[in-house]
């Protein structure tokens, strides 16, 4: 049995604590919700202090709910029946809500709140009047006022009574872009898109930078990264800038520096320098990477120390203490996993030495860099030659634009 909600109650996140910034966050969230559901023209959004309501006006609840789940800043939401403030009608709606739960609970309680004092029964009376009715109609159900499986809420407002129970968890976090902008180092593997997602969920606006080494890497690796950014842009509610950097010359120079075990360290340092330069131009105040402590040689504490020193901007590592399985779970959830595991190599998987250093020596690394002729110039050149793409969910990828439209 499914219920037909009239409204959706949206609950906000932790940013409600943030004093003066509060208004900015609320406004931003409302914009994001508006964007997410703009295809549903009849749905109306109403904001009140600390809460938001969507009146569906016949628009499909399930589809809108699916969109809301991905809006950062929404902690949870509830489908609501709005009925006239008459006891029998409220009771009927309460029963309908209880019977439409995905799993039938064994305990519940009613939490009634009478805001409209003109309504004849007060909150206490309503708890009994509604609860008793539901108990009679649903055999086997019991009341538990301390730890109920389901809390059935009845809010009697001047405009009508809201009846709801199920609380649908959403993404949480902060509205997109309310905590500044950062540059995401996006490799195309499993981790970095997840790091980007978590950064975005924490309110970061993201631009992405990807390093390719054509002809050592294929066009498919680039397409893969475009697909990943496209996927992430579904969460941002705004297009995401993707900076594509040719790393071929730098990589070739580093490979010839005669320090095989340090090559990954050297590459990562140059990447950070380029990313930092791009970040400064874009006004981004941090870098985001998919590093997870100990996962590979470049992600040991020793490596991170030597690599991280190449950049001065804060280096944010959302996955730093996360287990690989947890990262994979999120990747699946956000829909990047299938793309990430496509087998196209990125430039870091090339020239990988047999035994990469897990504890590189900073002095040797710095001296090696000094010995490479024209490294700074190559970095300048890479920054200058960066290709910029603006990616939104609507852009079509190489498969979707293959051939001519008239063939399909």
């Amino acid at each position: 049995m499914s219920m037909n909600p009239d409204m959706i109650l949206i609950r906000f996140g932790e940013f409600t604590m943030k004093g003066k910034n509060r208004g900015k966050f609320d406004k931003r969230l409302e914009q994001q919700v508006r964007k997410a559901i703009r295809a549903y023209e009849n749905a109306e959004i109403k904001s009140t202090y600390g809460r938001m309501y969507i009146t569906l006006n016949g628009e499909p609840y399930e589809e809108i709910a699916a969109k809301l789940k991905d809006v950062f800043g929404i902690v949870s939401f509830s489908p609501i029946r709005q009925v006239a403030s008459e006891l029998e009608t409220i009771r009927g709606a309460a029963l309908e809500v209880m019977q439409s739960l995905p799993e039938r609970p064994s305990t519940f309680k009613v939490s009634a709140r009478r805001v409209d004092k003109k309504y004849p029964h007060d909150s206490q009376e309503m708890n009994h009047l509604v609860g008793g009715y539901v108990l009679r109609e649903m055999l086997g159900l019991q009341v538990d006022v301390r730890k109920p499986q389901v809390e059935l809420r009845v809010e009697i407002q001047p405009e009508g009574t809201y009846v709801y129970s199920s609380v649908v968890p959403a993404a949480g976090g902060y509205p997109y872009g309310t905590n500044g902008k950062a540059m995401l180092l996006l490799s195309g593997g499993i981790d970095s898109p997840v790091a980007g997602y978590l950064g975005m969920r924490q309110g970061l606006e993201i631009e992405a930078v990807h390093f390719h080494s054509y002809p050592y890497t294929s066009d498919k690796a680039k397409e893969k990264v475009i697909d990943l950014v496209r996927r992430l842009s579904r969460f941002s509610g705004a297009p995401i800038k993707l900076h594509l950097v040719s790393f071929t010359d730098i990589q070739t120079a580093l490979a010839q520096a005669g320090q095989d075990s340090l090559i990954i360290t050297l590459m990562r340092r140059s990447m950070l320098r380029i990313a930092e330069r791009l970040a400064e131009t874009s006004g981004a105040l941090g870098l985001v990477s998919g590093d997870s402590l100990g996962q590979v040689a470049s992600q040991t504490l020793g490596s991170m120390n030597v690599i991280g020193r190449a950049a001065e901007l804060p280096l944010l590592r959302p996955l730093i203490t996360m287990d690989k399985n947890e990262i994979i779970r999120i990747a699946r959830e956000i829909g990047t996993y299938e793309t990430s595991i496509l087998p196209y190599e990125d430039c870091c998987t090339l020239f990988v030495p047999k035994s990469p250093s897990t504890n590189p020596n900073l002095t040797i690394v710095q001296k090696t860099e000094q010995r490479i002729e024209g490294l700074d110039a190559m970095i300048e050149e890479a920054v200058a030659g960066t290709e910029l793409m603006i990616i939104s969910p609507e852009i079509r990828n190489v498969v979707e634009t293959a051939g001519e439209d008239s063939w399909f």
């Binding site: 066009d219 498919k220 190489v398 498969v399 293959a402 051939g403 008239s406 063939w407 399909f408």
Partner: protein
Amino acid sequence: MMYYFDHCASTPPHEEVIRTMAEVMAKHYANPSSLHRSGQEARNLLERARAAVAALFPGTEAKEWIFTSGGTEGNNIAIAGAARQNRKRGNHLITSEVEHPSVYDTFKALEREGFRVTYVPVDSRGVVSAADVEAALTDETILVSIMHVNNEVGAIQPIADIGRLLKQRRGILFHVDGVQSVGKLPVDPAGWNVDLFTASAHKVKGPRGVGLLYVRQGTAIAPLVVGGSQERELRPGTENVPAIVASAKAFRMAMESQPERAERMQRLRERLLGSIEAIPELVLNGGTEPASAAPHVVNFSYPGMKPEVIVHMLEKHRILASTKSACSSKSEEPSRVLMAMHGSHERAASGIRLSFGDEHGEADLEWLCSMLRKVVEKLKPLERKG
């Protein structure tokens, strides 16, 4: 002008399909497995075609569809592949008595490999009963294969019901041969809990040599042919990109216009059924209700008359009809499908199939019905009373 009433056998390709095929063939000859850009362009086209196909079947994803060379190959891969892959889990298979030879003969071959096969019967309309399928299930059952629409008489099988009952008995794979239903009836493999679903492009105004096989995610089947990683290794060999792209278009056009087509053909079918009923020598094979009989097929018998004679006589009047299915019409045997429906050798040996296409209207039916009367009048003195 010919009156082509043999659309169940094959259909005239759509002009747009021919144009697409020619253009892609001229431009994208590179091998989709080649790494260079031309190869990758061909690969992208192939994947776009796959996505276009998946979009036609709600709840399915591009990666669940493989391109085959046609219905026969699709049925072989699905049935033999599923049976062999799952042999360790059980030795019992279920199909019906009225399947297309590409299904029926595959089961016969599997019997020779040691599988036990139950062939569920049909009623006089040619329809399988879901209860019979359920009754045939054993703990050893690993695969059920039932066609959606029968190719000789157009009987519609209760696929949704069978899918529902198999869902309750987890672990039994469900294959549906949808070659005759795609474009004629609504099809919903994902919604019906179908694991393997076959279709063929040349039945929907597409080119020969392309079929679809839906392999639901998580369904393991053993390949029949080896030698390449194309099509998830289930159908190795260089992909026929121009025909595949053209087929995706043909499927789209056929499926988008399916409701109007079904309605129009249903009117033609009712018209023809009325005419057959008015000719006492002829007897209709198959159901009369839209729920159990597809709109595009009519099958009748002239007991005591060799069906080839009728086909040849009709052809003199520029009407092209079929005896049995085109795939088995050369043998002298009576139709296995009609035998299963009626048990009468005489009736099963004299079946004629007429099947409609998009070009047919009232005038074509007018001609067909009057010529049918004329042919029977002429043949009447030659009846063999047995």
